[in-house]
Symmetry: D2
Subunit: 394 residues, 4 copies
Amino acid sequence: MSFDFTLTPRVLEWQAGIAAFIRDTVIPREQDAFERGVTDELRRDLQAAGRAAGWWAPQARAELGGGGFAFDETAVLLEEAGYSLLGPLALNCAAPDEGNIHMLSEIADDRQRDAFLVPLVAGEIRSCFAMTEPAPGAGSDPSALRTHARRTPKGWRVTGTKHLITGADGAAVAIVMASGGGGADGDEGATMFLVPTSTPGFAVTGHHRTIDTTTVGGHCTVEIDVEVGDDFVLGEPGLGFRYAQVRLAPARLTHCMRWLGVARRAHDIATARAVSREMFGSTLAAQGQAQAMIADNEIDLAAARALLWQTSWQLAQGIKGGEESSRAKVFVSEATARVVDRSVQLAGGLGTSEELVLGRLYADIRAFRIYDGATEVHKMSIAQRVARRQAAGA
Amino acid sequence: MSFDFTLTPRVLEWQAGIAAFIRDTVIPREQDAFERGVTDELRRDLQAAGRAAGWWAPQARAELGGGGFAFDETAVLLEEAGYSLLGPLALNCAAPDEGNIHMLSEIADDRQRDAFLVPLVAGEIRSCFAMTEPAPGAGSDPSALRTHARRTPKGWRVTGTKHLITGADGAAVAIVMASGGGGADGDEGATMFLVPTSTPGFAVTGHHRTIDTTTVGGHCTVEIDVEVGDDFVLGEPGLGFRYAQVRLAPARLTHCMRWLGVARRAHDIATARAVSREMFGSTLAAQGQAQAMIADNEIDLAAARALLWQTSWQLAQGIKGGEESSRAKVFVSEATARVVDRSVQLAGGLGTSEELVLGRLYADIRAFRIYDGATEVHKMSIAQRVARRQAAGA
Amino acid sequence: MSFDFTLTPRVLEWQAGIAAFIRDTVIPREQDAFERGVTDELRRDLQAAGRAAGWWAPQARAELGGGGFAFDETAVLLEEAGYSLLGPLALNCAAPDEGNIHMLSEIADDRQRDAFLVPLVAGEIRSCFAMTEPAPGAGSDPSALRTHARRTPKGWRVTGTKHLITGADGAAVAIVMASGGGGADGDEGATMFLVPTSTPGFAVTGHHRTIDTTTVGGHCTVEIDVEVGDDFVLGEPGLGFRYAQVRLAPARLTHCMRWLGVARRAHDIATARAVSREMFGSTLAAQGQAQAMIADNEIDLAAARALLWQTSWQLAQGIKGGEESSRAKVFVSEATARVVDRSVQLAGGLGTSEELVLGRLYADIRAFRIYDGATEVHKMSIAQRVARRQAAGA
Amino acid sequence: MSFDFTLTPRVLEWQAGIAAFIRDTVIPREQDAFERGVTDELRRDLQAAGRAAGWWAPQARAELGGGGFAFDETAVLLEEAGYSLLGPLALNCAAPDEGNIHMLSEIADDRQRDAFLVPLVAGEIRSCFAMTEPAPGAGSDPSALRTHARRTPKGWRVTGTKHLITGADGAAVAIVMASGGGGADGDEGATMFLVPTSTPGFAVTGHHRTIDTTTVGGHCTVEIDVEVGDDFVLGEPGLGFRYAQVRLAPARLTHCMRWLGVARRAHDIATARAVSREMFGSTLAAQGQAQAMIADNEIDLAAARALLWQTSWQLAQGIKGGEESSRAKVFVSEATARVVDRSVQLAGGLGTSEELVLGRLYADIRAFRIYDGATEVHKMSIAQRVARRQAAGA
C-alpha cells in the first residue's frame, strides 16, 4: 500500500481526552459565555481546567510545555478542540495566540522566548497579531502596508493604525507588522516588532461590533506610535514579509482544523434534532430533503478533513505549502460554512438561536471566509500559480 | 403590447417620499438601534416621524388611515421601506403587525375592528401572531397544533404553549391559533382568538436569543391558559386553518418585499465600497471576481423583483396564490440571502460588522429562509401540486 | 393596480395554436431528426407545415408576412415554439434567421429588403450572421475584429476568416461584419455586408463538431475574400458596431424565449416520469429529493419567465436595454441549464438518452451559456455599468 | 507524524509510464475515435499498444497478468489512465471489464477463472454486467429486480429484460443478476450467472442513443431467456445481492479514479487556452472570473483526490466501505462534473466541440452522476446510516 492514514496511539489518546474534556467541561460553560461574552476571567477558568485535564496546547513544542505533536497530528486534535467555540481557548490552541506561538517558536531569540513565548504557552499572557489596517492600508493586499518603522538613535519608531486586531484588548504583547527596515537595495521591506502593550504610545482605541462574539479581547482598532529598542525586532529587520509567510500557511490550516470541529458540532446538533423531530408523518431525518442536507454535510466534512489532513501532512513534511494551504483554506472555509448553514436550516425555527448553539456558530463562522485571505484572494493566487506553471511548462 | 409595468404617479410619489424618509430620518437612527436594541420607545419615535412624513402604512386600507395601495403597488413601496431594517417599523408596515392588520381587515367584526384594528393601524398598540409551538407542536407542519380551545359556559378556554412568537413582549393583543371549535362532522378544526395580552393566564415567559436583533418585542415563549368570551373569536369557530391561509400568502410576499429592500441596501453598501477601495493596483470594482459578485447581485435583485411583482399582481387580481407565493417566497428568500452574503464578502474585514450595517443585515436575514414556511416545506408543497396536476392531466 | 400581466386574446390564440402544432406536428418528427440530423429537406417539410398551420414567424412584421407581435408578446409565443428543439425552425423564428430578419427589418434598404428580407421571412432562403472569428479575432471581445474591408474602385474587398458561423452551410446570404469603412476621424469602425454565399471568394470550409446537433447548416468555418459593390453594405459604412447592437439585445432575449420553452419541455418530461416511476416504496415524485428538484425547476422557470417578460416589455417600450438584456440573458441561460440538468437527473439512466429527448436537450443547451455573450462577459459588463453609476453618484 | 502520503517508487514509475503512454499513443487516436466511434477494432489496436507499453491492467492481480497494485495505489494509476477517455480501455482498466475482473477474482471458481477471467484480463474477450432493468425493474432500487431464475432439472432458466447494459454488444460473457435461488427461509434472494453471450436465448436487441459515445459496445437492451447449468452460477445461489456489494463499492471508486483523470484533462486544456488567449487587454488567465474558475477547478481536483485516496486506502485496508465509497462517489462525480463544466465555459465558443475534446468530455461525463447509484440514492443511504447511528446513541 502507498498511503497510511492510521492514527498513532498517542494521537488517539489525546483525541479521546480532548473530546471528553470538551463534552464534560467546556460545553456546560457555553450558554453562560454566549450571554455574558467571553471575558479574560472565563478564559482563566477554562484554561485552568484545560491545564488540569492534561491536553494542553497540543500544537506547541513539548519543551515549551505543549503537546509536541506534528502538524498533521495537530489536525486531528484541533478539530476535536474546535467542537466547542470555547474549546481552543480552554486548551490554548486558539487564534491568535496559537499562530503567534508558532511564529515565535520559529523566530524569537532567547530573550523574546523567555519574555513572551514561554508565558504565552503557559497561558499567563495573551498576544495579538497587528497586521491588518484600515483602507487604504494593508488588508487583502499586504503590500499596501502603511504602518511604518524608521530607525532612531535608540532603535525604532513605529507609527500607524491597525484595525480588526483580534484579541488586542487585554493582550500583553502585540506583534506589529510595519513597513521599513529593508536593505541597501532600496526595497524598504517590512519588519516585525514585539511590542508590549504597556509601551507608551500603544493604545486600543475601539472595538468593532462584528457579529461573532466568542473571541476574547474582541476585534480592535489600535493606534501605534511607539519607540522600541532593537531587541524588540522579531528576527531581522526587513524580513517581515518573509516571516509573515512563516505564520500564514500554518495559521490558515489551524483555523481550518478548529472550524472543522465547529462544523461537525453543528451537524451533530442538527442530526440529533432530525432523528427526534416528527413532522408530516415521519421523523425529519427520514425525509428526502433533510436526508440530502445531512448527507451533504457528511460529504463536505469528509472531503474537508481529507484535504486538510493531506495538506497538513505536506506542511509537516517541510514544504512551504502556500498553494496547498490556499486550496485547503478556501475549500474548508466554504465547506464548513455550508455545513453550518444547512444545520441551521435543518433545525428550523430555533436554528438561529443561541440556545441551540447553532445561531452562534452561524454568526461566528461567517468571517472565516474573509480573514486569513478572503476566498477570492486565495483563488487569484492559486490561478496565478497555475498560469505561471502553464506558461513555463507549455 | 401585452404587459404593463408602468408605475402610477401616486406610486412614484410615495416611492420617492419613502426613499427620502428612510435616507434622512431612519438610517441616521440605525447605529444607535443596533447598539441598544429596538425598544418600544424607539418605535414610538420612529412612528411619530413616519406619520408626520405622510407615507404611513401604505398597505393598509385608506378608510383605516393607511395608504390604500393595491397589493402589487405595495410591492414597490415595501421594498423601499425595507431599505432600512427599521423602515417598515417606522411606517407601520412591519411584521407581524402588517400581516395582522391585513387579516383583521378581512375577518374582524365591528367590535374587534374598533378595539384592535383601528389602534393597530394607528400605531397605538402592537400585536403578535401566536401560531408556532415547540416540538412536537405546530411548526412547519401546522396540523400538529397542540394549543387547544374548548367551549365553556361563558365562551372558551384556550390552553397551550407557543414559542418564537415575534413581538409578543409588549404587544397589546395576540392572535392565538388553537385546535378545536370545529363542526359536527367530527373534524375539530382550529379557531383563532383575539386575546388581549392583559387577559389573566396569558404570559410571556421567555425570550429566544436568536441572532437577529431588530424586531421590537423579540421572539418569545408564551404560556396561555385563558378564558375568553365568544366575541374574542376571530371570524367563526372551526375555520382557523382557512383564516390562516388568508394571512399566509400575502404575508409571505410582504416579507419578500421588505427583504428585497434589505438586500438592495446591502448591495449598495458593498458596491459603494467596491468602487472606492483600491487593492492590487485597481479598484475592487474593476476586478473580475468582484464584478461577478456585483453582477450576480444585480441579477438576483432583478429576478426577485420581477417574480415578486408578477406574483403580487396575481394576488391583487384576487387569486389565492398558494403555489405562486410559495415559489416567490423560496426564490426571494434564497436570492436575497445570496445578495447579502456576497455583499458581506465584497466588504471584506468589516463586512461582518454592525458599523458597516452588513453584519446586522447578514444575521437578521438568516431566519427568512425558515419562517413563513421553510424553503424545504414550500418545495414539498410545490412539487405535490405539480405531481397532482401531472397525474390529473396526463 | 400598477401592473398588467394579462395576455391579449390574440396572444392566447396563437399560444394555444403553437402549442397544438408543436405537440401534433413537430414532436412526432423529433426522433427521426435526432437520428439523421436536421437537414434542409426536413426544414422545408417542417416549414411547409408551419406555414399551413398559420402561426408563421410570430415575431416578424405583419407587412412582411409575419405575426406582427410586439416584443413582449413574442416572449410568450417563442417560448411555446421552443417547446421542441425543432419548433422555432418550423415556425421560422429560429436563430440565426430570426435575428437577421429583425436587423434587416430595421436597417436594410429597399433593394436589400426585396432581395433578402422578403424571401427570408417567407422561408425561401436561409441566412447566417458572420461575426465570430478564431482567436485572436473577435469572440467575446468584438473589438478584436480581424476580418477587414477596404474600399476598391468598384466597392469593397472583404477578407477574413470566420468560425462557429451557425447555419452558414446552405445559407443563401451572410451578414458579414468587418472592420473598416469608418469616418474621417481616424476610427476605422466596422461595416456590415450582405454577402450572397454564391459570391466568388465566399467558402464554407469546415464544420465544427460541437455536441449540439439540431441546428440546420451546422456551425461552420468560413473563408472570405470577396469583392462586393456599395449596395451590399448594410446601412452605412463604419456603423457596424452600432448595428450589431440593434441585433444583439433582442437576439439575446429571443434566445431566452426559445430556451425557456426547451427547459419547460425537459421539466415536463421529467415530472411525467417522476409521477409514474415507483422506487423505494413510493413514486419518485413523492420523494423529498425529487420534490426539491421538481420545485427548483418550477421556481427557476417562473423566475426566468417573470424577468424575461419584464425585460421584453422594456425593449418593446423602446429602451435599448443593454444592461437589462444582459441580466436576463445570464439568468435565463443559467436557470434553463439548471432545469435541464435536474430533469436529466430525475430521469435517471435514460436521462442522457435521445429516446427520452432529455439527452439531446442537455447537450444542445450547453452552448447557450457561452454564445451571445458568455455569462462572464455579461457579468463584467453589468458590473462596469454599476460601478459607473456608483462613481457618478447615482 | 501520523499520516503518510508518499508514493512508492513502483507507483511513481507506473504513473510516469502511463502518463507518457497516454500522451504519446492514446491521445493521438482520439479525434479519429470521436468521429468514427469506439469500435472493437480500435480497442484491439489500443490494447495491443497498451500491452506492449507494459502498464497493463494495473488494478488486476499479478498472477493473472495485471499490475497487482493495492487499491490505493490503483487510485493514482487509474487517474493517469483516465486522462484520455480511451486510456482505461487501452490499459484494460475500463468499465465494465475492470469491475467484472475484480468480482470474478474474488468469487469465480477455477473453471470460471480459466474460461472467463483469464481471457478478460488478457483483453482477449470483453464482458458486461447485466443488472439494470427497465422500469419498474431494478434501477436505483436493486430490490425491484424482475429478471428471474428458477431451477430446472439441468440447472437454471433465467428470464428477463435488461437495459442500459454497457458493452453488451460484442461482449463474450455477461454477468446476469436474477432474483431467485434463495434459501429455505423463504427469501428467494438473487443469483448471479456467468452467461456466454452465445448462449441461445441471449440477445442484444437494441442500443440506447445516449450522449456519451466512447464506450465500446454501447449501452444495450438485452433480452434473456436462457438455460444454463449449475457451473454457470457465480459463487453460490441466493447470494447475488451480497456479491453485488463486492463489486459495487470498489467499482464506484475506480469510476472516480478514471473520471478524476478526465476532469484533470479538461482543466489542463482549458488553462492552456486561458494563458494564451488574449481578450479585453490581457490574457484570459489574468482575468478575475477566469481565475476563479481555474482555482475552483484546482480546489475541486485536490479535494476529490484527497477524499478518493483516503477512501481507497480504507478499502485497501479491508473495510467494506459502503458509506465511505458513497460519500466519495457523490463528491467526486459532482466535483469532476463541475470541473469539466467550468473548463467548457473557459474555452468559450469551441468549448462544446470535439476538436477541443472538451465537448466530448462534457457529454460523456454527465451520466457519471447517475450510474453506480445516482447522487440522490447515495445521499439517502448516507443519511439513513447517520440517522441509525444517532438513534443508536453513537
